[in-house]
Subunit: 335 residues, 2 copies
């Protein structure tokens, strides 16, 4: 019993064409008739059917937000903060946000002409194939970088430099044995972070050893914490650690406390990305800040431009990072 354009047309005594014209604000309809039509629309509380419109215009009016790795991400403040930016920017447009978490959903979403464009949160190598992504032929903007050879515009933090700043900050405090907690190397993000760590450590003429870096999977918080515990136990000389995410940093703090190390007295910890909660927990987390909300907004705007056929100036937009000194870092204790 939905009310259609025909209903308002007949009630207003005009053709559907005219109604459609006033609906889309197109010229070619008399002032008086237009007025009458508007009244009827109001009266009947008519709302156009977006699906039908989409059918003829070949546009759906919604864009897909594709986040791999399951719904886990929702509880990761890194993602949710960027998502906040995406949502805010999207509110400025006429598009709706279609979220999908599983690959089955994602495939269906992108293949069934259900969206006009997609925002893709950087998948890992094994997750979404570049080939398939290209084959769907949709405008795509990726957040957080994917593969080097990806043809899609990308918006991301300068994570490599971020980690460098973190190492430097620790060094300046007097730390000489600096460890690193990283995510899995199947993600470009982790690769970049490791690069940053390595190169800065060498620049500072500290000795680099793979023993000092721990690679964990953030999905399994429990396993990750366990790994950190043994890592810290096996590397007693480490006085400070940099992490590739705040999430991991919070885990390290927990692991440290479990084995009787206090932060920052016994161990300095710095995170990365500076998610909102990092300033909120006690002690507040030293981190390398980046405008995550801005990244989400920028990605959305870029996608809009892409969909309008505009030329994209920068195919790779990187947001600068900045070290924030808070309460999980201090001068190393003499051992």
């Amino acid at each position: 019993m939905t009310i259609s354009i025909k209903d308002v047309a007949s009630k207003a005594g005009v053709s559907t064409a005219s109604v459609s014209r006033v609906l889309s604000g197109k010229p070619g309809v008399g002032k008086k008739t237009a007025e009458r039509i508007r009244e009827v629309i109001e009266e009947l509380n008519y709302r156009p059917n977006l699906g039908a419109r989409g059918l003829v215009k070949q546009k759906t009016g919604n864009i897909a937000v594709v986040v791999p790795r399951g719904s886990f991400v929702l509880n990761n403040p890194f993602f949710s903060t960027i998502l906040e930016g995406v949502a805010k920017a999207m509110d400025q447009t006429d598009y709706n946000m279609l979220m999908s978490f599983t690959s089955i959903q994602q495939k269906r979403l992108l293949e069934t002409q259900a969206v006009d464009g997609v925002i893709l949160f950087s998948p890992r190598h094994e997750e979404l194939s570049l080939e398939w992504l290209e084959s769907v032929g949709l405008p795509i903007v990726v957040i957080g970088s994917y593969l080097e050879e990806s043809p899609f515009p990308c918006v991301r933090p300068d994570d490599e430099d971020g980690i460098k700043q973190a190492v430097t900050a620790l060094y300046n405090l007097g730390h000489r044995d600096i460890g690193m907690i990283n995510g899995p190397m199947s993600s470009m993000h982790s690769v970049r972070c490791l690069n940053g760590y390595k190169s800065r450590v060498k620049e500072l003429e500290l000795d680099y050893s793979s023993d000092n870096v721990l690679e964990v999977d953030e999905f399994d918080v429990f396993k990750a914490t366990q790994a950190m515990k043994t890592f810290l136990n096996n590397n007693k000389k480490i006085t400070g650690v940099v992490c590739s995410s705040d999430y991991l940093a919070i885990g390290v703090i927990k692991a440290a406390s479990m084995i009787g190390l206090s932060v920052p007295e016994d161990l300095s910890v710095v995170g990365a990305d500076d998610v909102p909660i990092s300033d909120f927990i006690t002690p507040s987390l030293s981190s390398v800040h980046v405008d995550l909300v801005g990244i989400g907004k920028r990605a959305t705007v870029t996608l809009m431009n892409l969909m309008e056929g505009k030329q994209i100036r920068k195919k790779d937009v990187v947001f600068e990072m900045k070290y924030i000194d808070r309460s999980t870092t201090s001068i190393p204790k003499n051992k």
Copy 2:
């Protein structure tokens, strides 16, 4: 240049009707022709246009997840954890998740026949009018309770009992001066929590005073923290506080640390809902646990049933809560 059902029909040398039939797995098509059609579909990599299908079937295939109060919620683990449950359950269905954060978006989404049903995160009184919600005539399930007179099925934590348990736990530890940090009373949740606090305090024959409860708006974290500081300063006799959410509890811990109170030595803190990060921070937060993911799942399943026209047995599903003793609570210090 999208490929349609006609293309596969002609290439297979059959009518679109037959193609449509195999597509929807309906009987009435020969084994051999069906096979041929399937081959062509594969060959052409044909995918049905969901919009067109929706037009004729009067279904869109997606459901709206309506979260009021802006994208703020994304960074609130309470919401994102429930959302995780919604997403997981949704993955089991053929529906897509359309998220909306602003009221303009929400109106458009629900009015333009863009969705078949909606999951509504409990709005505050002033946000979404019951009248309007009913007028759109969509199947709606609300999460976390809305208005008493709401006709929509609802899934929520037993927050009233949760707060009672929190008060009791503190009492059993020896606390006699127990404060409360609550959200704004425009939300049913806060109303319920206050009720629980009041009634249990009276049952325990502690004296109730409105001076002992602070009402803050969780949106403005900064302001909230400030308010908590002055609250704690003005109520030195309080040795323990219960909070209507873990989010607030984390804030209290920060406020306490700012004015030199240590948790739990000087002040015991209990949260509510037990979001994942609460067990992860240091010291880990004592809280009243509830299966948030389960709530999300349950709401989704209920919505599915509602859309299928099934009779809903329980119009009000409440999930029980259970106190979890962790590290932010202890025996009160003698003053």
